[in-house]
Point group: C2
Chain length 206, copies 2
């Protein structure tokens, strides 16, 4: 390794030791958020809960917003590592229903997600905005591909545009989860199942 | 008027003069938010933008959260006063499409809405939670009634549960609006129109 690393690398700890330390803090922060949710607080208060100094958090993550984005990305990486993605013939709404069921285990991260998305809509929050915009685009692209596959199998209506279906399913899933969190009487799984049924090919024998 | 009003009445200004002053501040706050959105800030900063003292804002609204709720409720009251509600045979998704189009005129209030909903999901924010929970319940009930009416007219599929349709349409509308705000390429009006088509009665002549 160079004896004189670039300033940026030194600052954000891309030395092996710095990377390990950043990951260690991120792991602890993820535990804290999974339990407590994203209730608005200061970077200083979070540092205390995580058990590191305020200076360390600022050093490794920059701002509260960047820390929140890093924690959520980490939770996604872990979820991806836990198992293969759903088979390509699982319908988009069914896929959302499965992930909504998984989310029930991690209410703190669901709160964090909604906080990040709301923050992204406010002006001047480029980290949250970039995260949310890219995440929506990626999820929609994956779902649209799934829709095209299911259409080619004759299992999903042919008269709907895959990109619009993808946006609709993501929106329905996010919005139903919000309503369910506020009022458990809202049956978001049943509503997603209904959307699935509306999108499925009309049966030829009916 | 009594010479000795109850403490609570005195505190929140339910004297005609206090009521008028509160309304005056609310009107100005609504103007400010319609322009600036709900970007996180302090009650003190908002007081400055509105042109009142921090003490006055605290006196009339209590906290930042309560002020945000009051501003959003005021914006809804004004929207209601602007014209009659859509005719009962306007479909739920079409109704959401109309209000989404109206919302394009007031991006600041749309931001405020998403901020209030995200705040409601965090612990310890009872004003936002009560507001969001009640608002979702009211909008769902209105839409469910619309669904039953359209079903009785034979214009909406009979094999869907009105309450689930209502929750789905509200969710789709909120979620699509969020995606569109982050990425204008998302055609939320077209996605709502597609949902409308999926929910409409299969035409007997097709």
């Amino acid at each position: 390794m160079s004896a004189s690393p670039p300033e940026a690398a030194r600052e954000r700890g891309s030395y092996p030791k710095g990377v390990a330390r950043r990951q260690e803090i991120l792991d602890r922060a993820l535990e804290v958020f999974a339990k407590r949710g994203a209730q608005r607080t200061s970077l200083r208060a979070i540092a205390q809960e995580v058990g590191v100094t305020h200076a360390a958090l600022t050093h490794y993550f920059g701002s509260l917003e960047e820390l929140l984005v890093a924690v959520y990305r980490e939770s996604e990486l872990r979820a991806d590592a836990e198992g293969p993605p759903p088979a390509p013939d699982v319908s988009p709404a069914e896929q959302m229903r499965i992930s909504a069921a998984d989310n029930r285990e991690i209410p703190g991260l669901v709160q964090l997600y909604s906080t990040l998305v709301a923050t992204a809509l406010e002006d001047g929050h480029s980290a949250a905005q970039e995260f949310a915009t890219q995440r929506f685009a990626r999820v929609r692209e994956d779902l649209a591909q799934r829709v095209r596959h299911l259409q080619s199998m004759g299992r999903l209506r042919e008269d709907v545009e895959p990109g619009l279906v993808a946006a609709l399913v993501v929106a329905a899933s996010d919005g139903l989860q919000t309503q369910w969190l506020l009022d458990p009487a809202v049956d978001h799984e049943a509503a997603l199942a209904m959307l699935d049924r509306l999108l499925s090919s009309p049966r030829t024998d009916s």
